[in-house]
Amino acid sequence: MIPQTVFRNSLASILFLLLPIEVLEAKDSCVECHGAMEGNLQAPALGFPTDVHQHRGFGCADCHGGDRNQDDPELAMSRARGFLGKIKRTAVPQLCARCHSDADLIHKFKPQQRVDQLAQYRTSVHGKKLAAGDEAVANCVDCHSVHNIREVRDPLSPVHPLNLPETCARCHANQTHMAKYKIETNQFQDYRKSVHWEALAKRGDLSAPSCASCHGNHGATPPQVGSVAAVCGTCHTLFEELYNKSPHKPVFASMGMGGCVVCHSNHAVLAPSDDMLSGNTAVCAQCHEPSSAGGKAAAEMAQSIGNLKAELNRSEVILTRARRSGMEVSEALLELREGQEALVKARVAVHAFQISSVSKPVSEGIAISRETYRAGESAMKERGFRRVGLAISLLAIVATLAGIGLAIRSIEGKGQETHE
């Protein structure tokens, strides 16, 4: 059996040999020595070959100081040569910012890279608490990892869109860690029930919102009650516009309620349904009595959307039947799509919380669905006509066949039959 130390040393040597030529050319005694060590002292050297900094030509000494050209550990890690040793957690953001806030340096590698991460971090809850001396809050390396930092677009990076929710959850779903901040730890659990998670994790849509989309990344902060609609509105623009003009906005604001999340929740944003308007699962009923004006308006909006849905469904059924029967109804099906778009518009218009806003797209949709239903009816009539026509034609063919058969019999009966 291979001893563990030999295995580790060999692995470190192999990783070292895998380093790009230009890096190999530059001496790095840190990697050489730490690669040959064990445990925590070896770990940084093992992870470093995959680190984006290493790929850009940076070495351990660029963060930790010291002299990487020295073989003697005493000289390499000499305080006189600027060796910093293990970086204090409170010093990490400032250390990273030495380069990441330097536009001249960063833009050499990535011309469009932002350089305000530290400024943003200082505005975040994390940054403020760290500045106050709380070392338990997240700093750069808690999210981006340390010694094996990958680019955000790298699927193995902890801050890649697909991995970000789990990265935030490492702390925010940890009850022990969150206890002193009195923050709930169910956000990740809730988020995994949401349509946003569904889009991100199940459909692989990297543009789907995750934690940073609403809370910000470096400037992570919980959206304030007044800004929830604006946060949701970064993607759901039309909904925000309608909500801002709606009677709900001033009421929610005065009650200290956070806009969209009142009905849709925050992390557990479920797929919306028309049942949210009326019925047992209606969110409107949380505030409005069914007999109140608001309750009645919600029921009326639900009713008109329900009517449109039923009309569209009726058209779709008949057109599908006609299409399956081989009838050409593609134009009507295309029109029906417009009707379905009207349904979407009506559902969006609900966010104005006014019956008149919903009625307009509903009546447009109903007009379209009635027209397409008529097209379906006429296609089905045409199908019946064709079948009757076919039956008559087949009867005529059978009669002709019988006539020809009789003619053959008559000819062959008169002695013109088959002869040898």
Partner: protein, 364 residues
């Protein structure tokens, strides 16, 4: 002048110019042998009938069809939705095309199993095989004309195959497409092939084929000849006109009934308009009569040894087509004896291959 007098004078006028009497005499004396396999003789006539249907419905479609990528799909859509009975004409055209290829295959295999290709009918066989090739050409060129998604991508696959032929492949593909890729030029070209080149060639070859059938008469299977020779009896004959002709007419009516039923109950679908910038939809496949070679090519690995799989497949199909076309020349040995087992075995194997691989190609 009495009616009979007018008839006589008009008849005499045509007789003088056309020599109708000799045709009448020919028809009166033409006979068809009667035996247990006589009904296979009808399939040639049914194929001819379906071809005539194709020509008639094709001419009607030409009144509205426009062979450009911008208008082709819309013009067919107009035909099937707005033109009176346009749906019927288009559906009959498509169904009869498929039925014609089916009956042509049945006719070809019946000719093989009844040994009707033997000396002196080699040229009849060769012209028949060429007609089948032209029918497949009609199918391939006509498939693209509605300019829908399936036809567009099937044509892309088909012309890609042509491109992999050694030496001339790229020229052949460019000739078929009228450019580097399937596009407007391909549509115009295929339209030209479909309505001018192929019909011209087919009409010419059809005349040759029918002329040869008339010249040599209808072939008799060898075992029927042997049977009657042993009994020292003459083989029963049926007058071609009107007895056989009326029976053939019945077969045409049955074909018309089947065609009308298919067209009315299962109108030929138009599908979605082709989008050259879209990616090919999943499960794209050619018409059923190209499924067997298509599925075979799918099964062949990309490389067999150092040879490209597709090239090997195409080479195999070319050999098969040449061997099959040359059937009359290897069906007898040097002494003139019939290689009956070899021919029947080959035909059964080919039929089994075509049926099995077409079904597999359809379902997989």
């Amino acid at each position: 002048m009495s009616n009979s007098g007018i008839k006589r004078r008009v008849g005499g006028w045509f007789e003088e110019r056309l020599g109708l009497d000799s045709i009448r005499q020919f028809a009166a004396h033409k006979t068809v042998p009667v035996h247990s396999a006589t009904y296979w003789y009808y399939f040639g006539g049914i194929t001819l009938f379906l071809f005539v249907i194709q020509v008639l419905t094709g001419v009607l479609l030409l009144l509205y069809y426009r062979p450009t990528p911008a208008e082709a799909y819309e013009s067919v859509q107009f035909i099937v939705t707005r033109v009176q009975f346009g749906w019927l004409v288009r559906s009959i055209h498509s169904w009869s095309a498929n039925l014609m290829i089916l009956t042509a295959f049945i006719h070809m295999f019946s000719v093989v199993f009844l040994r009707a290709f033997r000396r002196p009918r080699e040229l009849t066989w060769l012209s028949g095989v060429a007609l089948l090739g032209l029918a497949l050409g009609f199918g391939f060129s006509g498939y693209l004309l509605p300019w829908n998604t399936v036809s567009y991508f099937a044509t892309k696959v088909g012309t890609d195959m042509a491109a992999s032929v050694p030496l001339v492949g790229s020229h052949l593909a460019r000739f078929l497409r009228g450019g580097e890729d399937v596009g407007g030029a391909t549509l115009t070209r295929f339209f030209g092939f479909h309505v001018a080149v192929l019909p011209g060639l087919t009409s010419l070859l059809l005349l040759v084929h029918l002329g040869l059938v008339q010249k040599f008469g209808i072939s008799l299977p060898p075992w029927v000849e042997t049977l009657y020779r042993g009994r020292e009896k003459n083989i029963p004959q049926m007058p071609f006109f009107p007895n056989f002709f009326l029976r053939e007419l019945m077969a045409w009516y049955v074909a018309l009934g089947v065609l009308g039923s298919l067209a009315a109950i299962f109108p030929w679908e138009l599908g979605e308009k082709a989008d050259p910038f879209a990616s090919a939809p999943a499960g794209i496949r050619p018409e059923w009569y190209f499924l067997a070679p298509f599925y075979t090519l799918k099964l062949i690995p990309s490389h067999v040894g150092f040879v490209e799989g597709e090239l090997l497949g195409l080479f195999g199909f070319a050999l098969l087509a040449i061997g099959w076309t040359a059937l009359p020349f290897w069906a007898t040995n040097q002494q003139g004896a019939d290689r009956a087992r070899l021919v029947t075995g080959t035909a059964i194997a080919l039929l089994a291959y075509l049926v099995t691989f077409s079904l597999l190609g359809y379902w997989r």
